[in-house]
């Protein structure tokens, strides 16, 4: 039946060399992406207590029905999951997601996903050409990929797969008509950081695409796996092509007006609009000489090309921030592009060095770190911000030299070893927010971000509520503009989409509101919504949720209509938005069960201490930036600047208790057997029972 699925999930055991497959139909109840990945991991990884570097760890790359189709923001997204070496203090089963072409190409090759287990005896790479799957030698005596940077490895694989025929098509299969393509394969690879087991090593796909958080590059390294390459000559079978085309036309008509650039606030872009919109209407990129770069099928093309010199091809977002961190603070903004390229070639998750650097400089300034100091280092900290420093800093991490021997384990583990964790994370000088991950959006103000991250495995990195209820609302006054909508209208408009609850009170960010039962409900809804629609159906986080749309009457965006509309056209199902949220709850519970099998305890749901203390700490450091969000106070809705708020331990603990109860979890936060069975997760309930956990 045509339903968007390719029908098979590839399984590669690198220890035995065995190549097999699973039937996608056995996992279709999870939708795709993250849900399927969790379920496949659950089945294939028998002992969930193993370490990330254990050969039995299973890393999955999951596509889903809408990948490789015309569903906007969905064609190229790929969910990656495994036990990750980055989370701290426990290496949680974790996730990341990247765009580009990999996921769509996987579908064209006839696969809904890949699961890799085992460890190869020597460096290898996986070469997928439609149904032909080969594990190939990546060592010096083979295809010589080991030791290369990610961009270089990718280029080499293009040559290997295409036989050097870059200007012509390549034929795949035995006959001329079995499949011809002029495209390069889609490649995901680790760099030297992954090979050398840097715990925050990323997987990189093309310029700037990558699974950063989690340390999956190091999982590749631990398996002696350099890269996976896929080229597909097939297609995705759609249940209702007419409905899909109509959905695309509807979206085109309503999401963005290509002829009328209209930011949601004067001077600010809307959620969904981006460089692609600008590019296609001929304005922005033409004027600044940038190339549009983005993921398969996406019109937003948000990756951009940063410079005309071809540096940082496709890098955008946080991967370019490391250079800002080093450049801004130490007077060398021009040092940037090559530093980002170095980061991408090595395959390093930019968040970690961006968090490490100011902390290390602080230790240096305090006389704690340096030559012959308590933390002995010969890195040229007197030249921080220079290209020379950046190269030395990243080299030491990748090669495990100097303080890099500790830093490659991540800041949390390094700080613990150096005896500094408690002091520096309490003061906030080391800005770890939860699970060893860097501060991103502010848990003290955007509590759904903080609590959602703490209850999971990583910084959630979901820019939906934050976009409309922090960024826009904070930027408007900063630009002397009125808010798009008064607070009451805004929360009512968005609240109506929080199905099945449809309760605007869930969006009360006041000091009392964030600990309320309404907010418990909101955190629960948010975990479920994103788990399914963003991470399993896999609409890109930067494309949807469409909550505030300047081209629509009264700013009313396309959520909650857009999510099921494309999904149903492709799958032929009749899944409602609420059913998607319900599936998200099921997947969230499955993840939570896996974490309990790994040894989860309530203390792992806490946020780092500085978020309970740091308001305006020593000297002149502060987080006094406008943080304007909706609050319900004295019987009415208003926008309020929440800067300077700290969290309260007793209230946070009480919030957790009520959250556990709301989800149907026990007092320790573990899903009960009854809850798991209610969601059809009997296997998880049985495994927890067998382990004596529930």
């Amino acid at each position: 039946m045509a339903n968007g699925y390719a029908g098979k999930i590839l399984v590669v055991d690198l220890s035995s060399g065995e190549i097999s497959s699973l039937d996608t139909a056995d996992y279709a109840e999870y939708g795709g992406g993250h849900g399927m990945g969790s379920a496949v991991f659950f089945d294939l990884c028998e002992d969930k207590t193993i370490s990330a570097f254990d050969p039995a760890n299973v890393i999955t790359f999951m596509s889903g029905p809408i990948q490789g189709t015309l569903a906007p923001f969905g064609a190229g997204r790929c969910e990656v999951q495994a036990i990750g070496p980055q989370p701290w203090p426990v290496e949680w089963f974790t996730r990341s997601n990247f765009g580009g072409r990999f996921s769509g190409m996987l579908k064209f090759a006839g696969w809904d996903g890949i699961a890799v287990t085992g460890k190869a005896e020597k460096p290898v790479w996986i070469d997928i050409r439609d149904s032909d799957v080969t594990v190939r030698d990546a060592s010096e005596t083979g295809d010589a990929l080991w030791g290369l940077g990610t961009y270089d490895a990718e280029s080499r694989i293009y040559e290997l797969v295409r036989g050097g025929e870059e200007s012509d098509w390549t034929t795949y299969g035995a006959s001329r008509d079995s499949g011809r393509l002029a495209q390069n394969p889609a490649v995901v690879s680790c760099g030297q950081a992954g090979e050398n087991l840097v715990r925050y090593a990323a997987l990189i796909h093309e310029g700037g695409g990558g699974a950063g958080q989690g340390g999956f590059g190091a999982v590749f390294g631990s398996k002696n796996l350099k890269a996976i390459s896929v080229i597909g000559t097939g297609q995705v079978a759609i249940a209702d092509p007419q409905a899909l085309m109509e959905a695309r036309a509807w979206w085109h008509e309503n999401y963005f007006d290509w002829d009328d650039y209209k930011p949601s606030l004067p001077g600010l872009h809307s959620y969904g609009e981006g460089g692609g919109g600008g590019n296609q209407s001929g304005g922005a990129l033409r004027n600044v000489g940038q190339r549009p770069i983005g993921c398969m099928g996406c019109t937003k093309l948000c990756h951009g090309g940063r410079s005309a010199t071809a540096e940082m091809p496709g890098s955008s977002c946080f991967d370019t921030w490391y250079q800002a961190q080093s450049g801004v603070m130490w007077g060398n903004p021009a040092a940037s592009p090559s530093n980002t390229d170095l980061l991408q070639q090595y395959g390093i998750n930019a968040w970690e060095p961006s968090m490490q650097l100011p902390w290390l400089v602080g230790l240096y300034k305090q006389g704690i770190l340096g030559p012959g100091k308590e933390i002995d280092s010969n890195l040229p900290f007197d030249q921080v911000g220079s290209d020379a420093f950046n190269a030395a800093f990243l080299d030491c991490i990748v090669n495990g030299t100097d303080i890099g021997a500790d830093l490659k384990e991540g800041a949390a583990r390094a700080a613990t070893k150096w005896g500094r964790y408690e002091q520096d994370v309490t003061s906030g000088d080391l800005a770890i927010a939860m699970h060893g991950y860097a501060h991103h959006y502010d848990a003290r103000t955007e509590f759904e971000w903080g609590a959602g991250s703490a209850l999971g495995d990583r910084d959630i990195n979901e820019h939906d509520i934050t976009w409309v209820l922090y960024w826009h609302t904070s930027m408007a006054p900063l630009y002397g503009q009125p808010q798009a909508l008064p607070a009451k209208e805004m929360v009512e408009m968005i609240g109506a989409t929080l199905l099945p609850y449809a309760d605007p009170m869930m969006l009360d960010f006041s000091d009392e509101g964030i600990y309320s039962d309404n907010f418990v409900k909101f955190v629960s809804w948010h975990r479920a919504y994103t788990r399914f629609w963003k991470q399993s159906a896999m609409y890109c986080d930067w494309g949807i949720t469409d909550w505030l749309n300047p081209w629509a009457d009264g700013y009313k965006g396309l959520t909650p209509e857009i999510e099921p509309r494309f999904y149903n056209a492709v799958t032929g199902s009749d899944t409602s938005f609420e059913q998607g949220v319900e599936m998200g709850t099921k997947i969230w519970n499955l993840d939570r069960a896996i974490w309990y099998l790994q040894g989860r305890k309530p203390e792992h749901d806490l946020l780092a201490e500085w978020q309970f203390r740091r308001q305006t700490p020593a000297a002149h450091s502060t987080y006094e930036i406008p943080y304007i969000m909706p609050v319900y106070e004295n019987g009415e809705w208003a926008y309020k600047n929440l800067w300077g708020r700290t969290l309260d331990h007793a209230k946070y603990d009480d919030f957790l208790k009520r959250y556990y109860a709301f989800e149907g979890w026990d007092a320790n936060g573990c899903p009960t057997a009854e809850t798991l069975k209610k969601h059809g997760l009997d296997k998880a309930a049985d495994e927890l029972a067998a382990a004596g956990i529930v």
Partner: protein, 154 residues
């Protein structure tokens, strides 16, 4: 855009050699200033140890370009280097020891009527700090171009 930009009126007296040297000094860890680079994708607190760092920090702000015809691309990459003028002025006065610059920032920033609007205030802070740093370079005989070239090739 409804934003009101003002021309900076304040003229800073040329500092003496010693003062210029003091103004360019890096401060210690406990005296550092923290600015926050605000972007749609997240926020990055930045430790700033000197007036030159403050200038580099402001170099990443493109908020005052918003509204320009060709700035759609930048809008997508909007970066606001946020420092409250009062806080910067206090740090300049107490840590850098440059009361004149601190006062100029406060006076000029107060000329913007809307108490929340930021880009014109950022521009005022950037212009005044930049003017002071350039004065110090001149007084100390520091070649600005060489300084920039070495910064990029360091």
């Amino acid at each position: 855009m409804a934003m009101e930009f003002v021309t900076v009126d304040a003229k800073l007296a040329i500092p003496g050699v010693e003062a210029a040297r003091a103004f360019l000094q890096e401060c210690g860890f406990d005296d550092r200033l923290v600015g926050v680079l605000m972007k749609a994708s997240g926020m990055l607190p930045m430790d700033l140890y000197s007036l030159e760092h403050v200038l580099s920090f402001f170099a990443y702000d493109n908020s005052d370009a918003i509204g320009d015809e060709a700035a759609v691309f930048q809008e997508r990459r909007l970066g606001v280097s946020y420092l409250a003028p009062g806080r910067l002025a206090r740090w300049i006065s107490e840590v850098v020891g440059d009361r004149e610059l601190a006062e100029a920032i406060e006076v000029e920033a107060a000329r913007i009527e809307d108490p929340h609007v930021y880009p014109p205030r950022m521009r005022i802070m950037r212009e005044l700090v930049s003017a002071r740093v350039l004065q110090c370079y001149e007084v100390l005989g520091i070649d600005m171009e060489a300084e920039t070239a070495s910064a990029t090739s360091r």
